[in-house]
Amino acid sequence: MEWGSLFHPVVMGVLVGNALIAVGGALVGTFAVLRREALFGDVLAHAVLPGVGLAYVLSHRKDLPVLVVGALVVALIAAAAVDLLRREPRLREDARLGIVLSVSFGLGIVLLTALQRQYEPQQMGLWRFLFGQAAVVTWADVLLIAAIVALIIGFVALAFKELVALSFDAQFLRALPLPLRWVEMGYRGVLVCAILVGVQSVGALLMVAFLVLPPMAARPWVRHVKSMVIGAVLVSLAAVLMGVWVSLALPRVATGPVIVTAAAVVVVLSHLFAPRRGGLAQLWGRAARALQRWDEHVHKALYRIAEKEHSEPWNRRRLAEYRQQGVSKGTVVMLLWLWLTGSIRWHPGFRWSITEHGLKKAVQVVRRHRLWELYLERFLRVPPERVHTEAELIEHVLSPELEEQLEQMLQYPQHDPHGRPIPPQWGK
């Protein structure tokens, strides 16, 4: 199919239907993630299979409303089975969910394979509930989907504050005089609804990923549940439309895997590029801190040179003498960096001297280093021969406020434990 056909009524129906499915899934999925109940959704999704199978056996019809009713009934039975197993305290929650999930899935496969034997081949349509086929949504289906999604949106909007509070701290809320049973039942209802409409596009097997991935993609960017819902809706829409497009272009490709793969890519990208929490932001932070350490070590060496040479220019070899003190090889790079950042000045014959800017920076590092050495010796009783190595890291993390506190505690000292002068603050 070509792009030109996007506005064809059939294609429009498919697009609208799937967009609605995306919205419903994202709304409910956000709460499934916040409640840490994704696996429960997985159980319900797998229960859809025996549901549609049973509906078909009983009615011999495969239009969506009939199948949805069958799936609804069986999903609710599966949920009740989980509740029943919760009365057995020796089973753990993962075991309970695993049991119900596998049994309903097994039943579903048995039913569908039996049906396939008996009445081939037009019943193959039922298989789309396994892997999803987005492109078979008709306008009649869209009406049903719209009604169900409207129900989901209405409930989440109505009970938003209770849903959030229950996700955060259910125990506190249950101690309050509120009829929360209605909220819990409503939540379970919309969870089943979102799964019912979602399964035909995404498939029962991958439904849980469809619920969980969009809110996960939104999480590192948001500060509030409201924005998490909006972010999840956007990601979900993008993933579903991607799936629809592929489904229209390549009718043999199941849509579910496309949708879920698209959503997973967004999750990875989102966690890479998110500010602060994101992988790249953290890598950048680590690199920036490493650069800062290196820069400050080099300035410390500059300070030592300036201490000895006063304002005489010196050459490259002079800097290399400070290798043991964190000044690594590659003095050319170092000099280039210092020169570019304005810490040293060039003199004829490739000789150098420190600038005021460089000295200011160097004084600060040396001050912090020597103050911390003194603190280690006086307050933590670290032997003098060990204070230097311990101070090597701390000198980079001291803030001006901490530096001042330190100086106060040490009563404005003049010399470090090695007897070297502690330079006064720049400008004083």
Binding site: L34, R36, E88, P89, R90, L158, A159, K161, E162, V164, A165, S167, F168, D169, Q171, F172, L173, R174, A175, L176, P177, L178, P179, L180, W182, V183, R219, V222, R223, H224, V225, S227, M228
Partner: protein, 258 residues
Amino acid sequence: MNAIECRDVAVFYGRRAALWGVTCQVPLGCLAAVVGPNGAGKSTFLRAVAGLLPVQRGEIRLFARPIAEVRSRISYMPQRESVDWDFPLTVLDVVLMGRYGRLKLFQRPGRLDYERAWEALRHVGMEQHAHRQLGELSGGQQQRVFLARALAYDADLYLMDEPFAGIDAATEQVLLEVVHELRDAGKTVVVVHHDLQVVASVFEWVMLLNLHMIAAGPVGEVLTAQHLHEAYGGRSALLSEVVQRVALHREVMRRKGA
């Protein structure tokens, strides 16, 4: 009238008893501590009193009424570790939850609720953090948020599970002040606490718990060497065993009160 009255209370998780034969009272308007070793059932006791767990045997009455009738007068503060603090909400959102019990289901918080929430935040010294993310709080600040939420509810009985665990001296000071203010305002405060020294100097009433109530009453009478040895010398293996067997007999379990 007593704020809390327990008669022969038993609570089970499955077939394992967490509380057995617990009988105790907490007088109105007093500062009470629940003390006992790890796994003694202190949290279970508090949750049973808050009406969060079904009581299989015996009866709990608050203000001389069944729990269900007085829910609007009790404020439960769970252990800080019981929730996920990396949750996309702000401090103010959480404190507002304290007001939910004063609102109808689905009703939005109004001006009064916001005022009360801000008041509670100021009370615990957190007003400058009102719009901070939960994930950015320190342990002591988390505890203050929980305290503010409990205060915003404005109850008569406060049940606090280990509010003093893992906090700094400043937060401890705030907590102690608030707890005393509540008591002076005629409220009853029940606190799970691990530090016997603090309990002896701050609280008036103590419940010493280890599966059963070893002693409950004024501090001086309860914190004796004999009682403490009983509580901390290990759970009575005999009692645990007997309770497990008894639990199989439905008739015994069904009896309400003794």
